[in-house]
Assembly symmetry: C2
Homo-oligomer: 202 residues x 2
DNA sequence: GTCTATATTCCGATAGAC
DNA sequence: GTCTATCGGAATATAGAC
């Protein structure tokens, strides 16, 4: 056993994350968070003064959980193609267990863009630049076809992230059950990388 | 001149669309819609009984404006590569003038997926199937590399749609001003198609 | 059709007992 | 720390005059 009975604070944070991610910031209700945590509203405000403060915590947690996971791979000293293969795998694995997170983050980032200009995220820029230089080098050496590093990065991120955001659309459009969709995502874990590599290899 | 003075109803719908798309369903305020339409709340309820009913209208309008635009290309009798080239162009052009729409639709579709199972969208499935058969034929004839039509469709849609959703992230990560970003999107209008085509051509 | 004024509901936040 | 009860404001919705 490894359940050292979660503290009330942890219960709240877990409940808050679930509700904020499902309903969005504006749609989330303090009452529902309290209910899911098994406490009442008053206690919620005792721990975290306001909905505003609580939501800031959750946003920071969510961004901190998702972005570094995708970006960490970018600055390792691996071969370019190996990196591309690993990013897809990492991301798909993580999102399969946190299905609401991509949409939540995309929303918050769009509604409050300057939140990104500071703090932890700025630090990630170094990792990105490492990757971009690697791409530009490969292009200069003729190892891959000419492509701007910005465009390649956008392509890779798009292929990895979007299918989870558009899940209901794709399920409808392609006639996929939940199980079918899961299978398609599984196969994307490798197919995305191969798709990108074929597009860029000289 | 071609401004036959918009009716109050049109003014409301236009204002409602703007507010809902910017703030999201839960975040939108009837007061703000009334203000932007140049009327008051009471009149809003006179035309559309409730926020609920008004929002349903806006959702239907938005979905009807965006999805057919992307899908229309899929069932023409064009060459496969030509279709791919055209989808990217169509979409980028439209979204440039309706920048909040993709995020809004993605949100609504995720919060209320069964909204899609009925009505107009079901009809689009024929177009999609036309495209899928065309892909499968090309694979069978060895004209393109083996790829499932589902994966190819996801890839194309992802590359076309996601950069607009992730705009703030990309601007931060790549150090792009608004003008820079616009330029990158312009060049994607052709680059996305070439990227996809290189990835699949035999 | 359009307005002002008001009712009603909902929700975040606080007071105060235990 | 945790609860019950309640306040105060905000947002949706309606009443009723013009």
């Amino acid at each position: 056993m490894e359940s050292p009975k979660p503290s009330t604070e942890e219960l709240i944070l877990e409940a808050a994350q679930a509700v904020f991610l499902e309903k969005g910031l504006a749609g989330a209700r303090m009452q529902e968070i309290a209910d899911r945590a098994g406490i009442n509203k008053a206690l919620l405000h005792y721990y975290f003064r306001s909905k505003e403060k609580l939501s800031e915590l959750i946003i920071t947690r969510a961004v901190g959980a998702l972005l570094p996971r995708v970006l960490a791979v970018l600055e390792t000293d691996q071969d370019l193609f190996a990196k591309i293969r690993q990013v897809a795998g990492e991301y798909v694995t993580f999102v399969s267990r946190n299905s609401f997170m991509p949409l939540f983050i995309i929303n918050e980032v769009n509604r409050n863009p300057q939140f990104f200009l500071k703090a932890s995220v700025q630090h990630e820029k170094a990792r990105i630049d490492t990757f971009r230089r690697q791409v530009e080098e490969a292009v200069a050496q003729g190892r891959i076809r000419p492509i701007s590093s910005a465009q390649l990065l956008m392509n890779l991120m798009s292929l990895v992230m979007f299918p989870f955001l558009g899940k209901p659309i794709f399920q409808m459009a392609l006639g996929l059950s939940d199980a079918d969709f899961k299978r398609e995502m599984e196969s994307r874990r490798t197919e995305v990388a191969e798709f990108v590599i074929r597009a860029i290899q000289a």
